[in-house]
Amino acid sequence: MCVPVVRNPSYDVAMAPLIELRGLTVEIPTPAGWIRPVDDVSFVLETGESLGLVGESGSGKSMLALALMGLLPPGAKVRGEAWFSGANASSASRVNLLALGEREKIAVRGRDIAMIFQEPMTALNPVMRVGAQIAEAIRAHEPGISREEIHRRVLAALERAAVPEPAVRARQYPHQLSGGLRQRAMIAMALAGNDESAPRENGAGGKPRLLIADEPTTALDVTVQKQILELLAQLRRDLGLALLFITHDLGVVAQVADRIAVSYAGRIVETGPSREVLARPRHPYTAGLLRASPQLVRHKLEPIPGAVPALTALPPGCAFEPRCALRVPECAAAMPELRDAGPGHTARCILV
């Protein structure tokens, strides 16, 4: 017995975006009351496209990723829809990721959707050799697979993640790897459940369609960051992956993302083509972040005054109102809707 997969049969899958979020909302109980780290988020991600989700810490970026993966903390409540049309093999229509049963979630995770976590040291098991961990990820999806085949696939996964000397690294423990190698091992593990060269049975194997990368380079030095970003770009090209890239670094997002979604206190406040949004931001928060970002050229820093509001004490109107230099009295009255700000460009501000 398992929960029926919620499908949307009337939809033409060939035309559907890879991911379509409609009003995704996540609520979490905390000692100070319920918070809503993801609040009514809607966006689409096309096949092969790269979307950068930008926001400061606590703005709900990781919660959104975990909601898509079905890995929210216990007690969390989730509402809305997350339609995914990348499911392999038999499924001819889209599935709502939020309505999948536990077994189906596990199947989708690692097969259709792979994720790289923010902190590789917490995502890797410290007392298990790297190769054994990747082997476990493969076995989770294909229990019957032979020892020799697993060994081959582990090495192939490490090679695909550009880990030098894969046979040596497979026998090492995570703490014996540098930060950059650890992140590569994470990428290898995330993609190991879906080796395109593997024989396909029962819908197993096959290509992942979406890679979610949650601040994969935040803990790394710039030169290592550059290598990882180049690796991700290459994997996108080779595997035709769509990428949901989460970061707080506008420079990184400029480099990896076709489109940007800026989140503030749980809400998307601006979306659009990344060049357009970074060159001509329409939301005062995005504009403020750009002016506050240090660059190689010395410029007069213009910090945004104040701090991100606590999710337990959000202002009644626009969440950015207390910090916004452009606020007018009506900003505090009601939360503005996302408004049209140009072709494919929206911003949640009454001035738009």
Binding site: D249, A292, S293, Q295
Partner: protein
């Protein structure tokens, strides 16, 4: 010619191996700092940049004598800092204070902000009357942008940026001449980190401070530094005026650091 405020000559530090077959890097006897010499003139901001593990923090801690170098010399206005003992050492130490990277870990969670910021005064100026000490603490809290009501509150009641302000207030309360800031904004969000960088700029102007700024981020360093020293593997591989290092780096390692910075599109 006036002696530099601080001068280091050929500082070396190797950490002894804590043992274990898995020991890597410096733990197995590679020097963390391997013969570093530098000069710091009063009023300037010298930035030390380099990747994780390059020895920046170890160097900074040696400069303040928070750890002892294995060898080398350390001079404060021409006087031998390493030979200083007792009251002379205390007097030199209060001239040099440190701001730490992690505003969450570096403040004692059980102490009120008034005690955290006032503690260095208790140690170095024990004869100061309570009211006078309180006045000094309030004054420095104001200077870093915190109101008097912060005195009675605990660190957890403050945001990351405010905690960094508390750490800066604690470093400044003794009116030091040199402040060593080890990654002062790397744990903070961009919008708040810019506030702290601006605060450091203003405090330098108002209190005639000399800064040693440690950071892995060249864009951060570019906002404050007058000079930059680039560290790699425990050594300084390039040093020069900030504009020169940023615009015309000579060493291949510096060039690779600059080339790796993801740039924002021009608006």
């Amino acid at each position: 010619m006036l002696a530099p405020l601080l001068e280091a000559r050929n500082l070396k530090k190797t950490f002894s191996a804590p043992g274990g077959a898995f020991a890597i890097g410096a733990a197995s006897g590679v020097p963390a700092v391997d013969g570093v010499s530098l000069e710091l003139a009063a009023g300037e901001t010298l930035a030390i940049v380099g990747e994780s593990g390059s020895g920046k923090t170890t160097l900074a801690r040696m400069l303040l004598r928070l750890i002892e170098p294995d060898s080398g010399e350390l001079l404060v206005e021409g006087r031998d800092f390493l030979a200083a003992r007792g009251s002379q050492l205390r007097a030199l130490r209060r001239e040099m204070q440190m701001v730490f990277q992690d505003p969450f870990a570096s403040l004692d969670p059980r102490m009120r902000v008034g005690s955290i910021v006032g503690e260095p005064l208790e140690i170095h100026e024990p004869n100061l009357a309570r009211a006078a000490r309180r006045a000094r603490v309030v004054e420095v809290l104001r200077a870093v942008g915190l109101a008097e009501d912060a005195l009675a509150r605990y660190p957890h009641e403050f945001s990351g940026g405010q905690r960094q302000r508390i750490g800066i207030a604690r470093a400044l309360v003794l009116r030091p001449r040199l402040v060593v800031a080890d990654e002062p904004v790397s744990a903070l969000d961009v919008s708040v980190g810019a506030q702290i960088l601006e605060l450091l700029q203003n405090l330098q102007r108002d209190f005639a401070l000399t800064y040693l700024l440690i950071s892995h981020s060249l864009p951060v360093v570019a906002q404050l530094a007058t000079r930059i020293a680039v560290m790699q593997g425990g050594r300084i591989v390039e040093t020069g005026a900030a504009s020169q290092i940023l615009n015309a780096p000579a060493h291949p390692y510096t060039q690779s650091l600059i080339a790796a910075i993801p740039a924002l599109p021009a608006s």
